[in-house]
């Protein structure tokens, strides 16, 4: 069985360091008014962006679990 260092650590690194970039992007988009949450169409975009992050997070978590235990 591969160690934590080679299984979950890359996953944590990916979504923490990558997540910092993602959150920064989201904050800049909202604060600059480029993504205006008052506009219904933009509200959908905001939630779609969050969904995308969660989608890849869950996908990778499931794939690691499948590799280790299935």
């Amino acid at each position: 069985m591969p160690s934590f260092f080679n299984t979950w650590l890359p996953f944590i690194y990916l979504y923490v360091v990558g997540g910092l970039f993602f959150i920064t992007g989201l904050i800049i988009a909202v604060k600059s008014g480029s993504l205006n949450k008052q506009i219904p169409r933009h509200r959908k975009w905001f939630w779609l962006l969050i969904f995308g992050y969660c989608f890849f997070f869950i996908l990778h978590a499931l794939l690691i679990t499948a590799a280790l235990y299935w």
Binding site: F5, F21, G33, L59, I64
Partner: protein
């Protein structure tokens, strides 16, 4: 390592030939829709999101992916997919930063953005870096094409009693001639439609290969059980081996590569610019990253995974010592029948050619916008020619540029072929060439305070520090290596991206926050009588230092302080010479003023009221009035007013906007369901008599 030759049958070759002919005919058919350089390069900003989303598949998947990801899949298992699943982090920056800026500011190329945002000198350096980046990308494409074709061909052939070796470079030159021929006569519309067709075929061919591979092994359960746990993991081992590790690839591909792909890849950007609106561009990008890339990850890597399983079960069929870059071709041949193998190979090579075509087309656009036109403007044209004549001349220049770029791309293969796999060559290329531009674009878009001096220092000083990192990796890159071992032959292929990004960002930030001191020094400088001589001296010393760094003329202990002096001198020189207005030079050009960019694009206040799309019949009107006229009722339904922007297209949705045009609403009339357009709009929109149009307010 074991090399294969002469793979495939006569049937396969016939299938490949027929496929290529059909694709070229298909492209030529759509090439006739190019009416100007605008159409040749950008496809006329008219297409629907779904058409662009699928046309990107061929560009993304075709980009040397089958060969390099199959090689990595064979060596490292499912973790070969990770580079396809780490692009989401920069999507907010792209969708709500860069994409609206490039569309609303009507810039034709990335260097043009640098001129508007900073200065002509920034544009000049950005052009050099961008052309290097694009030519390198084209070189990687050619290398992959050559490696894909090599196993299909014999080792040598005999002609007139003489035996000739078939070399990788020989194959690449032949491929380059075919590729150059197609792009020279096609243009962006042809590329978009050829890619659309190939996107579908490529996905089908990749999935077909996976199904055939699983069938060959005896089902998914057998395949899964054959792979050891380490090869089933979706992310590579944290920091080993040096040739493929998670942390290096995260910084090289997930950060530098993702930003490079979304922000710098002119081929991709031109696709998004070909969508009918910013929102359609957002949809195309989102759909591509969220849906198409995960599918593509399986499509491009599965031959490697199947190959590994076969090599474990039947090492006599696929030897574990096989050349990794040949795995795709060997497995495709092993699991499919004659003819089917030909189809898979044709789909792969044609898509690769599409990718290279897209890049050549994009680089030709950079040539026209950032070299040809500025030089022409600088020289000053005495003979006045009509706009049409000028357009024709530029189209000709673009075609000549395409040929020159193709040649440079072939020459760049000489650098990349020294790496053991295409993947490592591409990794090195990304780590080395993208950071200065990535940092400059990124800080330019998202940081209003980022100055021309800072961007130039990033280009000059950042590159100088990167070169030093290349000469002294043990001293400079190792503090960033996260425990990755240094391979002496190819030191820090991936993690050098982190060092390069760091030094470029550091230089950019430091020079920006010290702007006030630079201004003071410039004021003192200007107060001197011999200020011009001092300026020339600063520049001469800077050039001398840069040369000493490029040729590594002194030890690191001297070169490093010299690099600091170079950064200081460069920033003072630029502050001295560039006239920069922090308000005018950022208006509409940073993420903080996109509303202003939209207003400038339209030329009047924005109408954001949500209206409906309508279907109308069209009639021709006399005169040159460029507005189009709807009835008052129809305008109310669309929530539009005179002076707003409208998009009209052939009502047949499956055309994806091929027959469409943008215009401005004119004064309304009283005939409901009728729109009046002029002759030029009819021609540009390619509208057909008797066919209804759909219309929607753009803004």
């Amino acid at each position: 390592m074991e090399k294969f030759h002469n793979i495939g049958t006569t049937t396969d070759w016939i299938v490949m030939l027929v496929y290529f002919l059909l694709v070229m005919l298909f492209g030529s058919y759509f090439g006739r829709y190019n009416r100007s350089t605008q159409d040749f390069f950008f496809g006329g900003r008219r297409f629907s999101w779904w058409l662009i989303a699928f046309s990107i598949v061929a560009t993304g998947v075709g980009s040397h992916s089958f060969i390099k990801y199959s090689a990595m899949g064979f060596q490292h298992g499912l973790s070969s997919s990770m580079t396809y699943l780490n692009d989401w982090f920069f999507v907010p920056f792209f969708l709500f930063g860069w994409l609206p800026i490039i569309v609303y500011t009507k810039i034709r190329s990335i260097p043009e953005y640098f001129e508007k945002r900073f200065s002509p000198s920034a544009r000049f350096l950005a052009t050099i870096l961008l052309v290097l980046y694009m030519v390198g990308y084209i070189g990687i494409g050619f290398l992959t094409l050559g490696k894909a074709a090599q196993p299909l061909l014999p080792e040598h052939f005999t002609l007139f009693g003489q035996t000739f070796d078939i070399t990788l470079m020989g194959i690449i030159i032949v491929i380059a001639i075919i590729t150059g021929f197609y792009i020279t006569f096609g243009g962006q519309t042809a590329v978009i439609f050829t890619d659309l067709l190939q996107g579908f075929i490529l996905l089908f061919a990749g999935i077909l290969l996976f199904v055939l591979g699983l069938d060959y092994l005896g089902g998914f359960k057998v395949f899964w059980d054959l792979l050891p746990v380490e090869l089933k993991l979706p992310l590579a081992q944290f920091n080993e081996p040096p040739s493929f590790n998670f942390v290096g690839i995260f910084w090289q591909d997930g950060i530098a590569g993702s930003v490079g792909f979304l922000f710098m890849n002119m081929g991709l950007i031109m696709r998004f610019m070909a969508t009918k609106s910013v929102d359609e561009g957002r949809k195309a990008a989102t759909f591509n990253i969220l849906a198409m890339l995960p599918i593509s990850a399986i499509v491009v890597s599965n031959a490697g995974w199947i190959g590994k399983a076969v090599s474990i079960a039947q090492p006599e069929v696929v030897p574990p010592s096989i050349v990794p870059d040949q795995v795709f071709v060997v497995i495709a041949n092993l699991v499919s029948h004659p003819g089917v193998f030909g189809f898979i190979m044709a789909a792969l090579t044609a898509a690769l050619m599409s990718t290279v075509d897209t890049l050549i087309n994009a680089t030709a656009a950079i040539y026209i916008n950032d070299i040809h036109r500025p030089i022409k403007k600088y020289i000053g044209k005495k003979v006045t020619i009509t706009e049409k004549e000028n357009d024709r001349k530029e189209l000709f220049a673009a075609r000549i540029a395409s040929i020159a770029i193709t040649t440079l791309g072939v020459l760049s293969v000489l650098i990349f072929e020294k790496f053991p796999t295409v993947y490592e060559a591409h990794g090195f290329f990304h780590s080395t060439l993208t950071p200065p531009l990535v940092v400059a674009i990124f800080l330019g878009i998202f940081w209003k305070k980022f100055t021309p001096a800072a961007v130039m220092a990033t280009f000059i000083g950042g590159v100088a520090l990167m070169i030093l990192g290349n000469y002294y990796p043990a001293a400079l890159i190792s503090p960033f290596d996260h425990g990755t071992e240094m391979d002496l032959k190819h030191p820090y292929t991936y993690i050098r991206a982190l060092y390069n990004l760091f030094v470029c960002s550091f230089v950019g930030v430091i020079v920006t926050v010290t702007t006030v001191y630079q201004k003071r020094i410039v004021e003192i400088l200007r107060s001197k009588r011999n200020h011009l001589q001092i300026f020339y001296l600063l520049n001469s010393v800077s050039v001398a230092i840069f040369i000493s760094i490029v040729f590594n003329l002194f030890p690191l202990t001297i070169l490093l302080p010299l690099a600091v002096v170079l950064i200081i001198f460069a920033s003072i020189s630029i502050s001295y010479v560039v006239k920069y207005d922090p308000t005018n030079n950022t208006e509409g050009l940073t993420a903080w003023s996109i509303a202003k960019a939209k207003e400038l694009f339209k030329g009047r206040p924005i109408n954001d009221r949500e209206g409906k799309k309508i279907k109308v019949n069209w009639k021709l009107k006399d005169g040159d009035d460029n507005t189009i006229n709807f009835s008052e009722n129809d305008m109310r339904t669309m929530a539009a007013e005179s002076g707003d922007l409208v998009y009209i297209s052939d009502a047949r949705g499956y055309l994806g906007g091929l027959k469409s045009v943008h215009a401005e609403y004119g004064a309304p009339h009283n005939e409901n369901g009728i729109v009046y357009i002029n002759k030029e709009q009819k021609l540009t929109g390619l509208f057909v008599e008797g066919r209804p149009l759909s219309a929607e307010k753009e803004m």
